[in-house]
Symmetry: C2
């Protein structure tokens, strides 16, 4: 998401992301996703969060991240004279790809080629790299299929169908149940629906909560787990202009990469894919963008935003800065250390910037006052109508839920987030216990229908670096002690009489979780094996498990209370405002649109597109220093794609 919210300076950042999605002009394009013009038959679209390319165009987005099954047809028709057919929508949907690890992409050939951002590919590039073959730094190009490298743990999803199951989910949750009971009932029915859908369709099936709990849809995905990297530029090209450009407006970086999905050891045959546009877009032209935005919070009450402003974001930022400094310090130890920590440092920095932007928005009194005034007016309306009595108390309900979270001892999972070993051990420990329950009663991520995806990650052979793990675990233990207080009995038990650094060294030394076969053995052995093993990391997690479950229970209950409250609020909104609208983002497929347009900055007109030559000018303006140094081999990367031999669809 880059620093979208920072730049937009609003609470609801992702809109701006749309504006940096790119259409490539004819003649100067290096890579191209195809484009859609309503007046032509050329079928094409862009992926949300797709790359910002050398030679790119800028578009101003209309408000909206629309569900594919509920497109704003009237608006599109009226404003742009464009009437998407069902076949068009289905084609764009089937051409769109979701990276399960977070990210959007497009199919761009019949032979399984997937175009995405370099920053989406970065995790895989990092995992495939070694000190001698650093694909992040040097880029990667497979000249033949046999040279393509398989990702250790990528899972790509193609959305195949959507089904509304709202009535079945709501029917299973008696309105008179307590929050805890309602949560259990809802979890059970969702797991059941997913299980049935998986068995019936053979497809990954996720029940998605929309409109904060007013609607439930099953999203069915075709999964691809044999995913291979085909091409990625050097980080100098992908991240050209560095953090400075990234933070402001990444106009010239080649933030793109190609993967290929395989089935049964062969490139997958893809029926629906986007083709390269032969003609460039025009100024003022409509473009449409499909992708999977992560999260928005338009429904949030002022109490929830206040909690976000005064507690969640400041704490998250303290933690992110702590990690940023940690990874940076680790990287100071040498080039190899820098390489190992690079991807995590980058992620942490990007999140820090996004959250800083969100907090900046929330710290704007005028913006907050406007939100509050709108809420007060709406609340008054609701409370003045007897038929909306069901929603009269939702604001208080949400405020109380937030207060319960604030009183809650700090999240224990801060440990898990940082150390890969810890994460693996936690999954194994919870898995062993959860598998003794029926699928519908488990913590949601352990439901049977999601098992394959979970195991794909759990048994990933991606490298783990003990030196980095050591530093991460030591810091996480220190943070744990800081949050709970050093005299907390659990902290004392976890540290076992040592300081965080010593304890981390001991645990890392005493774990065999690097060995994938050992992980498989532990997973297969179930609760008995987990109880017996003397693996130090498993033991550490076992000690924390009861507290983890206690905290998790509170969080899940609070989430359930909020889900119900927001659903009621939305129902009242629909009665009063009668507007058809789109739900907050939930990392599911949406369509956005807007027109290609330049803008004015400091009195200068900025054209809607940049050119490849502009990248070299940009380099010159910065004296080719630091992050503004293009890689020598830029043109050699560009060649296979620029080449006249490449047909409209990549091969």
């Amino acid at each position: 998401m880059r620093s979208s919210s920072r730049r937009a300076g609003t609470l609801f950042g992702p809109l701006w992301v749309l504006a940096v999605n790119s259409v490539v002009r004819k003649g100067v394009s290096i890579l191209s996703t195809a484009r859609l013009t309503p007046k032509s038959n050329l079928l094409s679209a862009l992926s949300l969060c797709t790359f910002v390319c050398v030679g790119s165009a800028r578009a101003l987005a209309d408000e909206g991240m629309w569900l594919f099954e509920d497109l704003p047809r009237a608006r599109l028709k009226q404003k742009y004279d464009f009437a998407p057919t069902s076949a068009w929508a289905e084609h764009v949907m089937l051409s769109s790809v979701r990276f399960n690890s977070g990210g959007s992409a497009s199919f761009v050939s019949s032979k399984g080629l997937v175009l995405t951002n370099h920053h989406v590919a970065a995790d895989t590039l990092q995992k495939l790299s070694t000190p001698d073959n650093d694909y992040m730094k040097n880029g990667f190009l497979a000249r033949r299929c046999e040279e393509e490298l398989k990702s250790p743990d990528l899972e790509l999803n193609k959305l195949v169908s959507i089904e509304d199951v709202t009535s079945r989910v709501k029917g299973a949750v008696d309105p008179f149940l307590s929050a805890d009971e309602a949560y259990r009932a809802r979890r059970a029915v969702m797991a059941q629906i997913e299980k049935e859908s998986l068995e019936e369709s053979g497809l990954r099936s996720d029940v998605v909560t929309l409109f904060g709990g007013a609607k439930y849809h099953v999203y069915r995905y075709k999964k691809y787990t044999d995913v291979r990297i085909v091409w990625a530029p050097e980080s100098r090209a992908a991240f050209f202009g560095g953090d400075a450009d990234n933070f402001e407006y990444p106009r010239y970086n080649l933030d793109a990469a190609l993967f290929r999905v395989y089935e049964n050891g062969k490139p997958a045959k893809i029926e629906h894919f986007l083709v390269m546009a032969n003609a460039g877009v025009k100024d003022g032209e409509l473009i449409l963008v499909s992708g999977n935005p992560g999260r928005t919070r338009r429904l949030h009450t002022s109490a929830a935003l206040k909690h976000l402003r005064d507690r969640t974001l400041p704490r998250a930022l303290d933690l992110l800065r702590r990690r940023e400094v940690l990874f940076q310090q680790f990287g100071y130890e040498g080039n190899e250390q820098r390489r190992r920590a690079r991807k995590e440092l980058f992620s942490v920095q990007n999140r820090r910037k996004a959250y800083t932007g969100m907090l900046d928005g929330l710290l704007d009194p005028a913006l907050f006052a406007a939100k509050k005034a709108e809420e007060d007016a709406f609340r008054l309306q609701v409370q003045s109508r007897t038929d909306l009595g069901f929603a009269a108390d939702v604001w208080d309900t949400i405020r109380d839920a937030q207060a319960r979270l604030a009183g809650q001892s700090d999240r224990i999972s801060s440990l898990a987030r940082l150390s890969r070993y810890y994460r693996l051990a936690e999954t194994l420990v919870l898995l062993a216990a959860e598998d003794q329950k029926p699928s519908g009663e488990r913590l949601r991520e352990f439901r049977s229908s999601a098992r394959k995806s979970l195991e794909h990650d759990l048994f990933s052979p991606a490298p783990i670096y003990d030196d980095l793990e050591q530093v991460k675990l030591a810091d996480a233990l220190g943070y744990f002690a800081q949050l709970r207080g050093f005299d907390d009995p659990l902290v004392a038990a976890v540290l076992d009489g040592k300081n965080p650094g010593e304890r981390a060294a001991e645990v890392i030394h005493g774990t065999q979780l690097k060995d994938v076969a050992q992980r498989r053995r532990l997973a297969a052995g179930g609760a008995g094996e987990i109880a017996r093993t003397s693996d130090a990391m498993i033991e550490l997690v076992r000690g924390i498990e009861p507290e983890y479950r206690r905290v998790r229970q509170v969080e899940d209950e609070v989430a359930e209370v909020e889900r119900q409250a927001y659903a009621q609020m939305l129902a009242a909104k629909v009665v009063l405002q009668g507007t058809s609208n789109y739900p907050d983002a939930t990392f599911t497929l949406r369509l956005a649109f807007g027109v290609v347009r330049g803008y004015i900055e400091h009195g200068r007109t900025i054209p809607p597109w940049t050119t490849l030559g502009g990248a070299f000018d940009h380099e010159n303006r910065h004296g080719g220093q630091g992050d503004w140094r293009l890689p020598c081999h830029l043109t050699s990367y560009a060649r296979p794609i620029l080449s006249a031999e490449i047909p409209a669809a990549l091969s």
Copy 2:
């Protein structure tokens, strides 16, 4: 202090610093401080916190940072057969220099040359640098006196005499006074002593609190305020090995610089100075080090250490990391931005590392338990003797004082620390009010005897960069809001309906404090002028002043309570243990000593010295990459010092 405490892994870090102070071997020296051998007449010493030089030796320090008027003569005689004469001690004392801004140094010529660390000189180099003349990056060398550049605000102090005024201070503070009254009485008598001493001697006179309040000495300093930079290496040489080496063991960096002090526009004539040693030190040889260590906390009770561990240090680290990320992000915007923020980033990083080390030590349960056991035993001893009744409650007193601090709303001065404009405005606002009181009743920093030093800083023409100030003030305002809560009335008043970024821009735009003449006018105008001015930064500070004074009052009272309690504890200690010892560090002159010695690491014997050639080897081992690239001109810097023409004393 570098990462001393980190490496030592103890609560009391500065000891290790002694171990990195250097004696330079004959033949390979570039720079040399002279050395002292007890068996020869060659008079010499090292400065504490002096440079670690290319070609350096390592010494293992004995425990102790001794007062010059109370040297451990028996121990020196017994262990090293060295009996320092009073003349010797006076000579070393008079050859030692303190940078009032923080740092130690030595006179090294009769014509006012002062040798110190590059990192001590960095603040001046930063202030003298411009985008076109970047002395931090490129180094500096004045070939003639006329080329030496005057620092905008350095003040150097030479300790001239020490007088014990314990009885006069204690006599002025009736033991039955309340903490507030005692604080006022003590402040008044200290200000009076300083004023009398200044008038009598014409010297800067500071009453220094020793042994946490058991003793009071007047330190009289000759001040030098015309201080010019003579030589500084490029940062590549001064910080060779970068943060990685700095964090572990800076063996090869040329962390040195030369200043010259002037009087009446001419190089000052210096009678006592250290001369270069003609012969190198030997393995096992005694060396002695004089300097001004900042602070130690050996007397701290476990309650005080707990407060440090659980509150002070974690908060300080959150803030430091916040600033580290802030300065780094600012630097990403370009080379000039990086240059502007460099010095502050460096300071913040160094403090972050030092505090991380302290916290690591405090997070060691064994270390903490040992401290507690020692305290409990001592406390039991005290409480079992009726003659020590005066000290029986000091632990509870200190615990309660800490609790009062913890209940205290967070320090308001966090704003001041970051923005130079804010700091200037705060000084002007407080000055105007304080000057209406007698000197002895003012906040201590505004006493009349310290006025010259205060004005030297207040009217410094050092550059102020509005873009950096803007970023700093915006962040400080955001932090202020975070600490006190956004709904706090003072926060609302300070932000004046804008978000932190907008408010910061408005205030920076509305201040004229960059203009030194304007500062002088405001200072001269007194309270009336401060009340009348519409300078936006002054107005901001005026709004915060009452709360600042309220918080300050609590802090000063708590400090007074602690001062009394520690004095009583120490008195009991002396009765029970009868040991003569040295007081905690207070940024006053001390002498430490130890022997030159190598050590064993990973089974390898590390010799006590490194050689100039080692720096080039070190560069090669790291492939000359990143921070391990020596500057091309290293030898040209070295030449004027290495040259055979240079006599034993630099000219």
